[in-house]
Symmetry: C2
Subunit: 701 residues, 2 copies
């Protein structure tokens, strides 16, 4: 059950433990911030050595407080925190923030200290934020429970930042452009409360619309920005963000790979699917926008906060400079957006209001001598068009350019029309004055038009997801499939304490749920081999089999394309000389595209299906496409379409491949005993799909 954080965010009384009279101390700053934030509840400074702090009566200890405060902020050094937390628990305080660093992040000693906190919180069911955090801000029910220089302006943005440092940068940036927020939480070490708790809380707030009345000039989007260095509970996070992202823009910045991961990746020794690629696939599935750079994050925050998402992909561009207009037109097209087409009446109006050498097609070049009024008239003309979903206004500061006046006109226009407007005033000092005006009107402006276009394209993608709405049905084959035979095969292997299945068992396992496999069997001698080849037809393949030998091809234990008796006998002799293992014979599948279909287990998100180029193709393409299980028809289709090898599958029977993917996914889901299963290659021929080679790893113990 999700935690109730309503008194956490909307306390009527707050205790600040460690409220100090020295103004530099964390406790003092926090107390001051609460007082300055127009907090309307009761404030209780706690400090054994003071009678009064900041004109407030000070209490010697928590137990002396005249009531149980709804929120306690502990602003004392780490070693003393567990004792104080215990006192909070004894006072039955439900919500606690611990600001101090010096816990898990400092090593094992700190880790022990943090575990004490976790134990107390869990025993008393305390909503504990931190430790090692900056606190939170709520501008709806005004309280600044942080020790940072923060944002006081009201807005529709919600932020969850694991890092206080990144929060500080966001605060400074918000203040510089007058961007308001509604709530800002810094998570710190996430001893108890994590991102999913806050996402759940935000979801509840959205349901209760009275919390977020639309504000002057802002969008109706209520976006949530997240800076996360780790995801605490993958499944919970996925579930919550999946629900939320259907109606609210969620965007995330996550430091990608660690140095080590990145280096591993570079040296090509990394696993098929690194942690990061799973996260990335999961976020995509959950509809969370992934920012590639810090700049992306800042730009999306502003765009989603101040403008409604466009209703379509068609952009009109108005510029007083031809070059940047063309650059922007290119960027619009590359971003998957479109340039609005103007109808004849509009072209006529533009011809009338613009000078003769102006460009009246989109992008509209209103020329270097354009005054504010020309900007206004041109903008108004195109804003009226149904074919225009958003307007991008570009300005370069030329000798006649009326920068501030133009910004004012655009601002006025944005009040009249519901359509989103974005600006790019390109320059420095001069255009800064115009940007200030745009900020006042809450029109997102970007120094470079490509940045505006990036933001618009992400907004449109969000809108498109909303329109497509039709949530993926959870239905899949799991119900219809008969897993009896599969269970027997697995049970036997587990009883024999095998960590992986031998060739034939692996083959039988996938065959048991209806995945087509070429004829195969173990053979004892050349006679059996010959009989098999004659029955099933040439060419055949010979493979050695050993439960614990997973890379038989690498050691020379696989021979394919054996076309006649002579070759068969030679190959068999060779294999028997080099290996002591059992030998498998298989009918060869010829002339097809080699694919890989597999399932891996991710530590955070669970089982993930992998699809891409297989066999020899796997080395040519970096083509690993992931989808969290369960997977249904549409999911399988999308996954195939995402792959690079998809282009090679034009003639293949895609329904059969889709069926194979869903069956394998269902198998992996059904049995927790399977930790990894991989078919490589799956060979897709003109009419058939064959699982030629597979391996299955079992969960130990």
């Amino acid at each position: 059950m999700p935690r109730d954080l309503s008194t956490f965010f909307y306390p009527t009384s707050v205790a600040v433990i460690g409220a100090s009279r020295s103004p530099q101390k964390v406790g003092a700053i926090t107390l001051k911030n609460i007082q300055n934030s127009k907090f309307k509840g009761r404030i209780y400074p706690v400090n054994p050595n003071a009678e009064e702090v900041n004109s407030l009566k000070c209490y010697k200890s928590i137990k002396n407080l005249p009531e149980t405060p709804e929120l306690a902020i502990i602003a004392i050094p780490a070693p003393l925190v567990p004792k104080i937390l215990k006192e909070c628990a004894d006072k039955q305080i439900n919500n606690v923030i611990i600001l101090a660093a010096g816990f898990k992040e400092t090593g094992s000693e700190g880790g022990k200290l943090e575990n004490e906190l976790i134990n107390i919180a869990s025993k008393h069911n305390i909503n504990l934020l931190g430790p090692n955090c900056l606190g939170f801000i709520n501008t709806i029910h005004p309280i600044n429970a942080t020790f940072g220089a923060t944002v006081a302006r009201k807005g529709n943005l919600r932020f969850i930042s694991q890092s206080g440092a990144v929060a500080a940068s966001i605060f400074d940036w918000c203040n510089s452009i007058e961007l308001g927020i509604s709530q800002f939480v810094t998570l710190g070490n996430k001893a108890v409360l994590n991102e999913s708790d806050f996402l759940s809380h935000f979801e509840k707030e959205y349901q209760n619309t009275s919390y977020t009345p639309p504000q002057e000039g802002m969008s109706e989007e209520s976006p949530i920005g997240m800076y996360l260095e780790s995801i605490s509970d993958g499944k919970e996070f996925l579930k919550t963000s999946c629900r939320l992202s259907k109606t609210r823009p969620l965007f995330i910045l996550k430091p990608g790979k660690t140095k080590e991961a990145a280096q591993a990746m570079l040296s090509h020794t990394g696993a098929l699917a690194g942690e990061d690629s799973v996260l990335s696939a999961v976020l995509e599935q959950a509809g969370v926008i992934q920012c590639k750079t810090i700049e992306d994050f800042f730009d999306l925050a502003k765009a989603f906060s101040w403008e409604n998402v466009p209703n379509g992909p068609s952009i009109a561009i108005i510029s007083n400079a031809g070059g940047p207009a063309v650059i922007s037109a290119d960027a619009v097209l590359s971003a998957g957006l479109a340039l609005s087409e103007f109808n004849e009446p509009t072209k006529k109006v533009l011809t009338k209001i613009l000078p003769r050498s102006a460009g009246i097609l989109n992008p509209v070049d209103i020329l270097g001598d354009a005054l504010a009024n020309r900007y206004r008239k041109a903008s108004e003309t195109v804003m009226k068009l149904n074919s225009v979903n958003a307007l991008l206004v570009i300005l370069t500061p030329q000798i006649m350019t009326e920068i501030e006046k133009t910004a004012e006109f655009i601002g006025e226009l944005s009040k009249q029309y519901k359509k989103p407007i974005f600006c790019s005033f390109i320059g420095g000092k001069l255009i800064y004055e115009g940007e200030k005006v745009l900020n006042k009107y809450k029109i997102p402006s970007f120094r470079f038009p490509e940045r505006a276009i990036y933001a618009i394209s992400e907004m449109w993608k969000f809108k498109k997801r909303k329109l497509e709405a039709s949530p993926l049905k959870e239905a899949n084959y799991a119900g219809e499939l008969n897993f009896e035979k599969a269970e027997k095969i697995l049970r036997k292997a587990i009883n024999e304490k095998q960590q992986s299945l031998d060739n034939i068992s692996a083959n039988n396992l996938i065959a048991s749920i209806g995945i087509p496999t070429p004829p195969t069997k173990f053979i004892k001698d050349e006679k059996e081999a010959l009989v098999f080849a004659k029955e099933n037809g040439w060419p055949v393949a010979l493979k050695i089999s050993s439960p614990n030998l997973l890379h038989k091809k690498k050691v020379g234990g696989v021979a394919t394309g054996i076309a006649n008796e002579k070759q068969l006998l030679e190959t068999l002799t060779k294999l028997q000389t080099h290996f002591e293992d059992k030998i498998q014979i298989q009918k060869c599948v010829q002339n097809g595209t080699e694919l890989l279909v597999g399932v891996k287990t991710d530590a955070i998100f669970g089982k993930v299906l992998l699809f891409g180029a297989g066999g020899t193709y796997a080395e040519l393409f970096d083509d690993k496409n992931l989808c969290l299980l369960p997977i249904n028809n549409l999911g399988a289709k999308r996954l195939m379409e995402k792959s690079k090898i998809y282009k090679f599958l034009q003639d293949a029977k895609l329904e059969k491949l889709q069926d194979l993917i869903i069956r394998l996914g269902a198998l992996a889901q059904e049995f927790s005993e399977i930790s990894e299963i991989e078919i490589n290659p799956v060979i897709a021929t003109l009419n058939e799909v064959w699982a030629v080679d597979s391996k299955t790893l079992l969960r130990c113990g």
Copy 2:
């Protein structure tokens, strides 16, 4: 011979024609700008209706001037310009700037007016800048010959901008960060002077080092930034920039494709190699850095102007925030840079000077409570290391952070150490004060660390090109090859007024210069076909041949894999029924990778060699790689390596393929009659390379 622009840029006397007493007029602003720019020469306003302008004696007309001014600026409306230009010519003025718009850019009428200017300038050998331009600035010999709000600060940057609007943005930006320039030219319509003229002039200035003394805090790089919407003389531009880019950073922003080109590209109907891809390949060959966005352009200008390029790819990162440090470490690795390794003594020092929980590996996390002094000590420690080629300092504005003091310390450090330092202070208002200090010290700072890393990576790429220096040798097969047979084949076709060669002639043409082609011939009947197949072995292919039918495969005129007599006869009958053309028989090449090698003629740059996936692969990969001719061994190798299909060529004989490329390049170069030649497919088998099908287009007339 390159034009001499020394008196153009360094005039001792200037006439301003159209100098007006109304301060809003272009002539008035220009005159004022010259006066305010500390121009030390003589200034002659020309205006028939004034005795004096801005306290300067005014002349009725050009012929009345007391001397021949070295530069004349014409600031009067377009229709009057030709007459005035003629007067300038009569006065023997060598250098003229025409500011007015209203020429070529407005249509055919304006075009005619512009042609008049070109004729006068060419007759009198006038260095004419414009029309439709903003003029130029030179801070070395101070003169601001523009009518814009420009840059007065001295620096090492040179700019060439075709657009005055973009120039205005650059001016504003330069002023806002105190970035100085040495020369800035706006080209306008390029009636006479174009980018190559100015590049040549800059080259001359560089040779005479007295022009550009290194200035306090700036780099020694003397970069040149170009904003160009078109290249006027491709070959000249290529030659000059090739030479310049060996020692100076050249970076360019060019609006990519037009809307139409982009759309054509999107609908997949575009030609194999559009204009833009040729330009891009040419710029790469010339060592010119191509900016993808306006932001790239601004960022590179600052970086190259203020910091020397790093001597190696290893970066040290110091940050007071863990997340941005990790993000930056990832960006460093993805950009092809490296993270410096710290030796043991350094780690020891860092352990000593930093708090216990700080990160002493690279990136160095000096923690959120880092004061300026900790930044200084950590930075100094790593700057001393040989393994550090550049330092990136990241700062988030946390509660204790001493933003300006930190910037001061870094500034001091940059004076002591020759190594380049880059900063990323992330935030808004607060960090702006720090950025101002960094600007004072000429330390490039970027709001987002990824932008700094982009700049560093381009700087390092530039340095690497300089280090690799070894210019590609121009030598190729052209001298050794015997073109006699080729000439005969071409002569015959041209005499017969063919626009393209028939199958066998095209085959013979490439075979004549030693490119391997499979056995082939025209056949009259089934008897001849059978004889051929038996002599050369099955399978064979049949193709119809017609000089003007270039897409025979599309119309069903190609049959491959004919494996026996029966198939041969059937196919032959079918072809003979459907087509009246000659029929070619060819031995099939089996089991290879299909490639395309061709030569096209680009309108601006001349002949360009094309290499990539061919045959059926061409549809799967977008794989067109270009190289301007001539091409040598190394060039061919690089071209192959650049392709996507390269991965499929692991087992192929690359030397043979390289040889084929060079031979085809030499052939195309030798004969101006060949406008286009394409071998598709070239089939690369394990041991051989075969030119299976080729077409040759001849220049008409």
